[in-house]
């Protein structure tokens, strides 16, 4: 029993335990400090749901052995392009949302495939390259956004040319999933639509990961040499995993945008990958292992901390933006911890 406990703690990791403990502490602190508990909890739930799919992108890419997906911006850009096309056609409501997903698909498939090809060439330093390829794509797209032809004047900057920095989605499909069938239990609002969509996505990924291809992908990720000896095309498996991850990234940003109410172009997606990586690691994933449970648990703890720490901190220390500081320390700390552990095993 003692051994088992110890093993459990070792696998769980100190950083992770601190983070979970911190989450529980502030979750309890909210009612203790007489803050508006139900509203805050509802906000936390909304943020969990809206970030869920972005975190889910980590599963296929980590399982297939290409490391943490620091190139999430590539997927996000594809989603933004899809959203832009659909908004430019002035599609609204469900049509608009699903059209955005549909329009993003060809981009994310092609980009994911190309990105997969690149990652196969640079095995061993995927993470660093992914980060900078992501940054480079984001900054290149900044110029594209300035010159992209737009018919719908709502999207255009008031002065000069180019796309707005933030497009308000109220006229298009803001909250389309959030307001689908919100459940209110004694003042606590659960955005059930977004959660259902997230669970559907998780279920599809779960099915895929447990299909024959998924199992082959896992084998390719765990031990490429052995997998290749068994006749699995490792490179192809990696490309599939990366492409799937890019497609999910595109869908993820659309889900995020509908809940957030804005579509953010230009430089705002630059740092999104770090939060998503941190969330899945917090949920218990390691360099080559990531499950749906890690995603759900991780996004709950991470987004919970981010949402709840601000009001709690404001009571304890007025006028500080401690929430941002907490996010920086926890998310980067957990990534560093995972990096240290991942390389230590070799």
């Amino acid at each position: 029993m003692k051994m088992k406990c110890r093993q459990f703690f070792e696998e769980f990791g100190v950083t992770r335990m601190i983070a979970v403990g911190f989450f529980l502490a502030i979750a309890i602190a909210v009612p203790v400090l007489h803050l508006n508990t139900l509203t805050l909890y509802s906000q936390a739930l909304t943020r969990m749901a809206m970030n869920g799919v972005l975190v889910l992108t980590m599963v296929p890419i980590m399982v297939c052995g290409a490391g943490m997906n620091f190139a999430l911006p590539i997927g996000i850009i594809c989603g933004l392009i899809g959203g832009l096309i659909s908004m430019n056609m002035n599609l609204q409501g469900f049509t608009g949302f699903f059209a955005s997903i549909l329009f993003s698909l060809p981009f994310s498939l092609v980009m994911g495939y190309l990105y997969g090809l690149l990652m196969n060439r640079v095995k061993g330093s995927e993470m660093m390259i992914a980060t900078y390829v992501g940054f480079a794509v984001i900054s290149a797209m900044c110029i594209v956004w300035l010159f992209v032809p737009i018919d719908n004047l709502v999207l255009r900057m008031q002065m000069g040319r180019g796309l707005r920095k933030d497009v308000v989605l109220t006229d298009f499909w803001a909250g389309i999933l959030d307001d689908l069938c919100p459940v209110t239990i004694g003042g606590l609002t659960i955005p059930l639509g977004t959660f259902l969509f997230l669970f559907l996505m998780c279920f599809l990924v779960y099915l895929y990961m447990h299909s024959k291809t998924g199992i082959m992908m896992r084998a390719a990720g765990q031990n490429p040499g052995l997998a290749a000896a068994n006749g699995i095309n490792v490179d192809r498996m990696r490309i599939w995993g990366i492409t799937l991850s890019t497609v999910l990234g595109a869908i993820g940003i659309l889900v995020y945008a509908q809940s957030y109410g804005f579509m953010q172009f230009y430089e705002s997606p630059k740092m999104m990958s770090f939060s998503a990586v941190a969330a899945v690691l917090l949920g218990g994933a390691s360099n080559k292992r990531a499950s749906i449970f890690n995603v759900i648990f991780g996004v709950m703890v991470f987004q919970g901390i981010l949402t709840l720490s601000m009001p709690v901190a404001n009571v304890l220390l007025p006028e500080s933006n401690i929430s941002d500081i907490v996010r920086m320390i926890i998310s980067n700390g957990i990534i560093l911890y995972a990096l240290g552990k991942g390389s230590g095993k070799k």
């Binding site: 060439r121 330093s125 480079a136 920086m328 700390g333």
Partner: protein, 414 residues
């Protein structure tokens, strides 16, 4: 003919960026004096940060994205000396001491982290920079004024907790290093030429007798440089620029000192150890070098030099945003080094200087060139980030391709 071809293929990156700069200069159409004086300013304040990258590359740790940590230690030092109301050279010297102490500690911790994540130093350095940023924010935005007793009319936020987000150095501190002694660019050029002549004479006297052809080549070189200098000083339009531009001598000496350190460390025992660890960790370990210790030392060197660099940078600027000034230090310095033709496993002082000049030239010309072409200032700004991120991405990809090709070749030969 063959050597020319070789020259082009070896310096492809430099030539490409030199042409880009030339194009941007022609399009932007700015006055030469403005460009040159701005360029001198930028090169002086950025080169030490770029030099900080050389030693970790020598030790085989790749591009040190962790220099951001060094930059933050310099910022902490400046906050302290501003609080102590120190000015002038005394302020600079105390700031140097304080930031050296902080950055040695930070470098040591960073080095230990790098040893735990061998093979992934670059991503670790980058994430460590973000993590360090969080700690830095925690200390100066939350702990100052609460846990650490601190109050300063000029620095503190009015609520008493934390430091203001824009830090204006007190009078006398802005340009404290730059303003001590300035000389005209023309005077500096002449001085450099005199030194070069003396060095040449020394070489000829010492070794000339055995090697006639080498003497001939060096005399021809001397004549060409002399002619170039004379041209610069005598052509009226150029000489007007050269005599008007001023060079901050103390900063220049500081830059030279650091580059001498980076250049000649290779001839010391420590430098040899850096080299052999960089060549092959396995062999170095087998030959009895304490690899972990050497790697930590390399990181400390890099962090300390980076903190000096950020200090030189900030004293030149005078005002900086307390919490974000360090953010782009890593990306911009690394991109500059790569523009100079360095790669992830080889970088020299010369490449660092070529890189800084070209990169900063492009940086200062891109916005106005972008405005001229597209009638939009933002294009140029975005173009700069595309270049800096793109250069790093391409260099990383090329390096990985090369490494994997070598690995495959090795596997084949076995």
């Amino acid at each position: 003919m063959k050597t020319i071809k070789q020259f082009f293929s070896e310096n492809l990156v430099v030539i490409f960026f030199a042409l880009l700069c030339l194009g941007a200069y022609l399009i932007a159409g700015q006055a030469p004096y403005v460009v040159v004086s701005d360029l001198i300013n930028r090169v002086m304040r950025n080169s030490i940060l770029v030099l900080a990258l050389i030693i970790p590359i020598m030790a085989g740790m790749g591009l040190n994205f962790g220099i951001v940590v060094g930059a933050m230690s310099a910022q902490a030092a400046i906050i302290l000396i501003t609080h102590w109301r120190m000015t002038g050279m005394a302020g600079i010297v105390v700031a140097l001491l304080v930031c050296t102490v902080i950055s040695v500690i930070c470098g040591y911790l960073l080095g230990m982290l790098f040893n735990k994540t061998r093979g992934q130093e670059m991503i670790t350095g980058m994430i460590a920079g973000y993590f360090g940023n969080g700690i830095y924010l925690l200390i100066f935005l939350v702990l100052f004024g609460t846990v650490i007793p601190f109050w300063d009319e000029e620095l503190s936020i009015r609520s008493g907790i934390g430091i203001k987000d824009t830090l204006k150095m007190i009078d006398g501190m802005k340009g404290a290093m730059d303003n001590v002694w300035k000389l005209q660019l023309s005077q500096v050029l002449i001085a450099v030429f005199v030194l070069y002549t003396l060095y040449m004479a020394y070489c000829i006297v010492k070794r000339g007798r055995e090697n006639r052809s080498a003497v001939k080549i060096s005399v021809i070189k001397w004549l060409i440089w002399g002619a170039a200098l004379a041209a610069v000083l005598l052509i009226p339009s150029v000489s007007a620029v050269v005599t008007r531009c001023k060079i901050p001598m103390i900063t220049l000496f500081f830059v030279i000192l650091v580059s001498v350190l980076c250049q000649f460390i290779t001839s010391t025992k420590l430098g040899q150890d850096f080299r052999s660890v960089g060549m092959d960790i396995g062999i170095a370990e087998a030959s009895g070098i304490n690899v972990n210790r050497i790697r930590i030392l390399a990181t400390i060197f890099s962090t300390v030099i980076a903190s000096w660099g950020q200090l030189a940078f900030l004293q030149n600027m005078g005002t900086f945003s307390t919490y974000t000034a360090q953010q782009n230090v890593g990306t911009f310095s690394i991109a500059a080094l790569l523009v100079g033709g360095a790669s992830i496993d080889k970088a020299t002082v010369r490449q660092a200087f070529i890189g800084v000049v070209l990169f900063q030239l492009l940086f200062l010309l891109a916005p106005s060139a972008g405005t001229k072409i597209f009638n939009d200032t933002q294009v140029g700004e975005y173009f700069r980030t595309v270049i800096s991120n793109g250069v790093i991405a391409v260099a990383l990809v090329l390096h990985a391709l090369n490494k994997n090709r070598k690995k495959a070749a090795q596997a084949d030969s076995i």
